[in-house]
Symmetry: D2
């Protein structure tokens, strides 16, 4: 029996998830949707055979809806997640879980109060084959204890209205989650370095930035965030252990020899780079939801990521080394 | 409305296709199946909620079956394909289409007589992202006219009962099809070189072999077939044009620095190497079948591959340069 | 007419330079040498047809000696360099120029007082083909303005009696010089991060360390120093500009496919990695010396490197962000 | 005491060798030279402090000349080599040793009659680090017995007056020598395939060509010769053994990420690609000559290469598989 999904938010990423749930992932159907852009939402509802609802609340309440996907405007996430929990339905919420740590905390408390884990956050890198190979390598002990991570997160050009703050809260937050998952431990301090800004960064945007994180056991992480790198979408991650290193490969693209050079393409966009990770993320979410469990990044993970991103933001603003006060993990969320 | 598929042959590859059609590809259901190993077939039927039939003919005749997948023993392919055509149902037949050129010809003639293209052959490399990038590069003219192709097709160890003949008919046949598709033209001559045989090749197996093909326009192709290369499953393809070359990349695997070396894994098996190609192949087959067309490798392609493989076999046996007599393409099969 | 060289210090690196000047570099002869290990020095003198002198001072004073190479114990460098300047002879001094910034300053002042540049410091990376390609790329503007550098300096195992302090003063000092040369500007601040230490680091050695440097124009540099990385000698350098990045290649070693992996060797030692850079360094030093000029890293460069390394050491000890007070470059030393 | 070298032929490659012997290789001086272009030869003589002689014979006879380097027009090689042998002087002869197998044979016979090995042929690839790594890998047994070699020899554009015949006799002859050296055995048959010719090949030049060689033990070799590949100078060599493969690396050049691609430069010319091999070749030749022996490719090797190239030429002209009749190696030439 297929999982019947209601989608709140049918902008670019919302529509892409609808397409994915319809055409790429088996075992699910999008049966209901809603968006503030009514015209576009109705068009998509027609295209995919889903029912249009005037509000996200109605989607959540709809009896034909088993589970919710939230892809609306970031500031509305918390509200819909809480409504989903209240309705006792499984919720997939695009990152960020909420725009403030306090809202995340409310979600965590509501979920605990409800007595059942329902919420998964859209940190899709945990589903990328490369990161999973790295995690397996770390866990196998083949490079000894991890000591350092060197990461790059480069976008060709920023999205519209990109701000200095968003480089951490919307972009580096992926590293914040996935590195913590790789290492199996939380962060202790954050510091942000601000290199000379690219002349191609507009309107006062500070770009690039370098986020330095220290974990509780003393692993040191540097994450270069470069929203304006011009040449392509490029995510790199090297893990340095006591006896060796492991590193994400570049995606496999055709090798060319011409015009005096060997070359291969670097993808222009994250959608090409992580298309398989998104597919796997939803495939596993549908499977887990049908089994009645949450197997991916939890509300707790979303909360910790938000607390960490807040500390990074403070570190950027103050130039100081900022302690990251991660609350104690409730037993409700097993590691 | 989902495509209802009947599967004939539920050995390793047959079961894998059933799993793929059920869990990976949307828009299709396996509703019927059959196999000479009745016990195993019944187990799979139960697992996937399909109906077991005693014979392939019954699967083809079953009214609830829209389209057929044939993954039975090679010598039975032609029989079932012909039955499928007779029943007017779409047929996906694992390669080879038939074990003799004459049987292929009969299929082509039956399909033409039926007046509608129904048959697709399981040459999955046409669906591999790397080969598709190469085809796009060739078609764009960015390396000028193609002059040469250098290909390797290496298996770690041979399957059970592998024979010298099978290296061409079951293995190099993939190159025979995909290179012809890349180039958009047929072959003219074949020659086979027999290097010193590996001491690890058992029971008189000649391994490796080198197949030399010449196309009608004069492109020269060499294909190394090495069934026993020990180190992994490795498929390589370099296309040399007038102004540059393009080449399949190695699959993207985690990069490791340890023990005095940089390294990354080479897959041990074809199933890891081409898993995405298989998924894409069936996704596109389901989509095309629902639209009532054949968009992948046709019965004609299966016939031409068989004629070419026969010429290669003769070339291996005689040591001569053997002309390849490809019949004229009927207008029924558009290029 | 060959340059007649006197060598002070005939330990491992001193003897290697004698071999290089004799057998690899044209236009020079080692005619005199001295070392506190008299027995070994006499053996080497015999082997290379040089005259043994009891003291470095005698080597410097010897009338048959045109130019001096200093490869003795670090704390003796300043003394011999000053003596060489006093004698008006060209001096090649292995890094470091001196073990304190004050001694470096004395050398700079003596050289200026003497009115002629005579001293070159053994920062051989400026002569490495890869770094030179990077410098050319930066200077050409093809990656826009430089914003960040990410560097790794990894040794398989530390040399004997390696201390935490030496990781910066003897190892990272290479990056301190070469990056400043790449960028054409001085540093402004230093900070040192101390990741969790490898359990393979003995006797209280803090290893790895991460040195963070900021240049006067705001370029941000991170240098990982890992003396104990176990897997090989590995120097990496990526320069991130506004429109692209350039990066040192791994040295070209034979590519192997075996045992389920693609691999190539990583050199175990710096001597293999930088052998060509050393050869080029001496070839160019001999040529420049014969023309009566200093074309390589100057005493001023040695001084600035020492001041920078001192700041890094203070940063490591205090955990603070330490300003680097580079004195104003005298006009005597042109950029 | 330096080896005093006389050079016959001061065209591009001759002058380059004079520069190399003067400035790059220690232990040798060019003291005499001759060329039919008298004006240019006098200029070079002045520049390098050598004595100009009117004829090659005079260079050979000059009492101040210890050893001869022949870099004159190919058809004159045999004459000067024979004269050198007669004079009892060591001879380095650029490839080819002679323009006919018969002339090579005369040289071999003269050398044997003289009772001492004096002649080395300029097959510089044996001195390339990559080929030497491959030879060491083969000899170590780490890839089992060698079964196949796949080679490419690509030039960006042909030299002036390049002919179809020269692709083998002047270009593939490098592979003919170095592969035989790698394998330690001679060839048995040759065949040449002529792919569709590049439209950029002028004046009836057949380009590319594929040379197929079979060794006496049954190893199969394919060498693509492409004189007109447009994109750069590219030499590749993969050796396939029973348990793995080894392959020449691309030369190490700076890695660039810009404009949507990862890339590195491919050298435009052989002089960049093999500069180190040439240096090592002459360094070792000078050393061996001073010790009174020939350690590099011998006159016998030059003879065998010529016989093989002749067979390849016949194979190209006839389209047939041509046996290669290598005479029995005289005991005078140890393996």
């Amino acid at each position: 029996m297929d999982l019947r999904v209601g989608v709140i938010g049918t902008g670019a990423i919302g529509e892409d998830h609808i397409r994915r749930l319809t055409h790429t992932v088996t075992g699910a159907n999008v049966v209901a949707l809603s968006d503030i852009n009514v015209q576009n939402a109705r068009r998509i509802a027609d295209k995919y055979g889903a029912k249009f609802y005037a509000t996200g609340e109605e989607v959540i309440a709809a009896p034909e809806v088993d589970a919710i996907v939230i892809a609306s405007w970031d500031p509305t996430h918390a509200h819909y997640v809480l409504a989903g929990i209240k309705a006792g339905k499984f919720v997939f919420c695009e990152k960020p879980l909420a725009t403030s740590a306090n809202d995340c905390k409310n979600i965590v408390e509501a979920e605990i109060a409800g007595g059942k884990q329902l919420v998964q956050v859209g940190f899709m890198r945990r589903f990328d084959r490369g990161y999973r190979q790295i995690k397996a390598a770390i866990d196998s002990g083949r490079i000894g204890e991890v000591l350092m991570l060197h990461c790059m997160h480069r976008n060709r050009v920023p999205g519209p209205k990109h701000t200095t703050e968003m480089s951490i809260k919307n972009s580096v937050i992926h590293e914040i989650d996935v590195l913590r998952w790789l290492l199996g431990e939380d962060y202790k301090t954050a510091q942000v370095l601000l290199p000379k800004s690219s002349r191609l960064a507009e309107d006062g945007l500070r770009d690039p930035q370098i986020v330095l994180l220290e974990t509780q056991s003393g692993v040191r992480i540097d994450v270069e965030s470069f929203i304006n790198c011009q040449y392509g979408y490029d995510v790199q991650c090297e893990v340095v252990g006591e006896t060796g290193t492991v590193r994400l490969p570049d995606p496999a693209n055709m090798e060319v020899r011409s015009g005096g050079a060997f070359s291969y393409e670097i993808f222009p966009d994250w959608s090409d780079r992580f298309i398989e990770a998104y597919d796997t993320e939803f495939r596993e979410w549908v499977d887990a939801t049908k089994r009645g469990i949450v197997a991916g990044p939890s509300a707790w993970d979303g909360y910790v990521a938000c607390v960490t991103a807040d500390a990074c933001t403070e570190a950027r603003e103050t130039g100081a080394i900022v302690p990251i006060a991660i609350p104690r993990r409730p037993a409700f969320y097993k590691k």
